[in-house]
């Protein structure tokens, strides 16, 4: 119960930040909406030709929106942690009864809130603009959303572990690291498009199965359970690894004095 109260305390702390700044809320919604409009226009251009292209257009928009779930989840997680670094608050937090894993849980919660704020307006706007509703995927969408959200958290944990280890010089990972995974995640094209020699790497990422599954739902109206289970298993394996890396990094910072000295 005390643990829940501490997690909630930190969620409130991050929520205050969002609530008190309208530009922050606007910024959260801006990029997903911008991406959706841009890719929607490209998709619209493609749909002039035939019915298959029409379907591809929808798949592109779905890919854009679901990729943004992953990106916003990771970014929401990492940026909330960076707020503590920028405000030199990490020392205060870890002298309080807050445990490192409670902090991780609160970062996950605020990341979920930020992702929903970011994605919902863009998904709703796609309906009148392009006659495409992400919600047509129904329950599958919730499962895809959950899987991508978890993958984003895992990436976030790796990134904050790197920030704790290497200091603020590693903060650019919060914005850039995820894009190195994008070409290999089969977001806009099937995995068969990738050269054969690198497909194994793509198949080692949980998000690849989500995007493959998303195409199967949109093209064939079929939810591929095997893909989903594979993404869950990979998420579980990476989550355990991320937690271990984070705790090792945290203990390393306690040895070096990094918890009190890390700041702007």
């Amino acid at each position: 119960m005390k643990s829940l109260a501490r997690i909630f305390a930190l969620v409130i702390r991050y929520f205050y930040l969002i609530k008190t700044s309208f530009p922050r809320i606007l910024e959260l919604m801006y990029w997903p909406t911008f991406q959706m409009i841009l890719w929607g226009l490209i998709a619209k251009y493609l749909t002039y030709s035939n019915d298959t292209a029409l379907q591809i257009g929808g798949v592109l928009i779905a890919g854009v929106l679901l990729w943004d779930v992953l990106f916003r989840s990771q970014l929401g997680f990492s940026l909330s942690f960076l707020e503590e670094i920028w405000s030199r608050n990490l020392g205060q937090l870890f002298v309080s009864p807050l445990k490192p894993l409670e902090m991780v849980l609160s970062l996950m919660t605020i990341s979920l809130i930020r992702t929903v704020i970011a994605i919902i307006p863009a998904a709703l706007l796609a309906i009148p603009l392009y006659s495409f509703s992400l919600f047509q995927m129904g329950f599958s969408l919730m499962l895809f959303f959950s899987s991508l959200l978890i993958t984003g958290w895992i990436l976030g944990i790796f990134i904050i572990a790197a920030i704790i280890r290497f200091g603020v010089s590693a903060e650019s990972l919060a914005w850039g690291a995820i894009f190195t995974l994008a070409p290999l995640s089969a977001i806009y094209y099937p995995i068969q498009t990738l050269p054969e020699w690198i497909r194994w790497l793509s198949l080692s990422f949980p998000q690849t199965y989500v995007f493959e599954g998303m195409r199967e739902v949109l093209f064939n109206n079929n939810f591929n359970t095997v893909y989903f289970i594979k993404s869950l298993i990979l998420n579980l394996v990476y989550a355990l690894l991320a937690i271990v890396v984070f705790l090792v990094s945290f203990e390393g910072a306690r040895k070096r004095g990094g918890l009190i000295n890390t700041g702007e």
């Binding site: 020392g91 040895k255 000295n261």
Partner: protein, 245 residues
């Protein structure tokens, strides 16, 4: 005031390039105010950071409230607190929001009532709805001290608590801590360069130089031992003697 609530034994901290703290031992009793004095780089902040559990010692042991903090750190964290110029409170949150969040982290009951009473005692009632980033350094210090007492700690770690305060406010804060300790039987570890403050507040003093304890005792016993009238002269004598070695 006889019970030891901190027991430090043979504590050392070695970083890659230098030995910050060398084999120090001391005790702190309930209700006692102990000053740690020393020039910059003497090892005061490193010692406090180890006591708080933010820094792992290279060797030695720390027992706080009968718990070995290398094993049971989380059992004592809600009973201690600290204030230091090396950490801040989030600047974009108001004073009230910050104290509310920390009140929740420490499991404080009736947080809003507690915030009001602390703000009144430390004289920052009119600042409660201002963002911390809008405060002067003196105001920030008072708010940081407010955060440090939000859980009525049994042990308080204060690093340069009055460094950025004007003499009037600093005097009020010292009076506040004298009364606070009496009322709650709180023990304080105080790192300071202000000898007047240490003489006034502290029951005992540890003198540190180059990571070692060079002497310790009550301010009056140290004055007597070194034949000086002011603690500052004792500090200078020790610092310069050591420096000439």
């Amino acid at each position: 005031m006889n019970e030891n609530i901190i027991e430090v034994r043979n504590l050392s901290k070695k970083f890659t390039n230098h030995q910050a703290v060398k084999n120090i031992s001391f005790d702190l009793k309930r209700g006692e105010i102990k000053g740690i004095l020393g020039a910059n780089g003497a090892g005061k902040t490193t010692t406090i950071t180890m006591l708080l559990g933010l820094l792992t010692p290279t060797s030695g042991s720390i027992k706080i409230l009968s718990h070995d903090i290398s094993k049971n750190r989380y059992k004592i964290l809600d009973k201690i607190n600290f204030s230091s110029p090396y950490v801040d409170l989030p600047k974009k949150l108001t004073v009230r929001q910050n104290l509310f969040v920390y009140g929740m982290l420490y499991g404080v009951a009736n947080i809003n009532k507690k915030i009001k009473s602390i703000a009144k005692e430390l004289g920052f009632e009119n600042l409660l709805d201002l963002k911390v980033g809008e405060l002067s350094s003196g105001q920030k210090t008072r708010v940081s001290l407010g955060k440090a007492i939000i859980n009525d700690p049994e042990i308080l770690f204060l690093d340069e608590p009055t460094a950025s305060l004007d003499p009037d406010t600093a005097d009020r804060i010292r009076t506040f801590f004298e009364n606070f300790c009496k009322k709650h039987d709180t023990a304080i570890i105080l790192a300071s360069h202000n000898m007047e403050e240490v003489t006034r507040l502290c029951d005992s003093v540890i003198m540190m130089k180059n990571g070692e304890i060079t002497d310790q005792g009550s301010p009056s016993s140290l004055l007597k031992k070194y034949g000086k009238k002011k603690l500052e002269d004792v500090f200078l004598k020790i610092a310069r003697e050591e420096g000439n070695r």
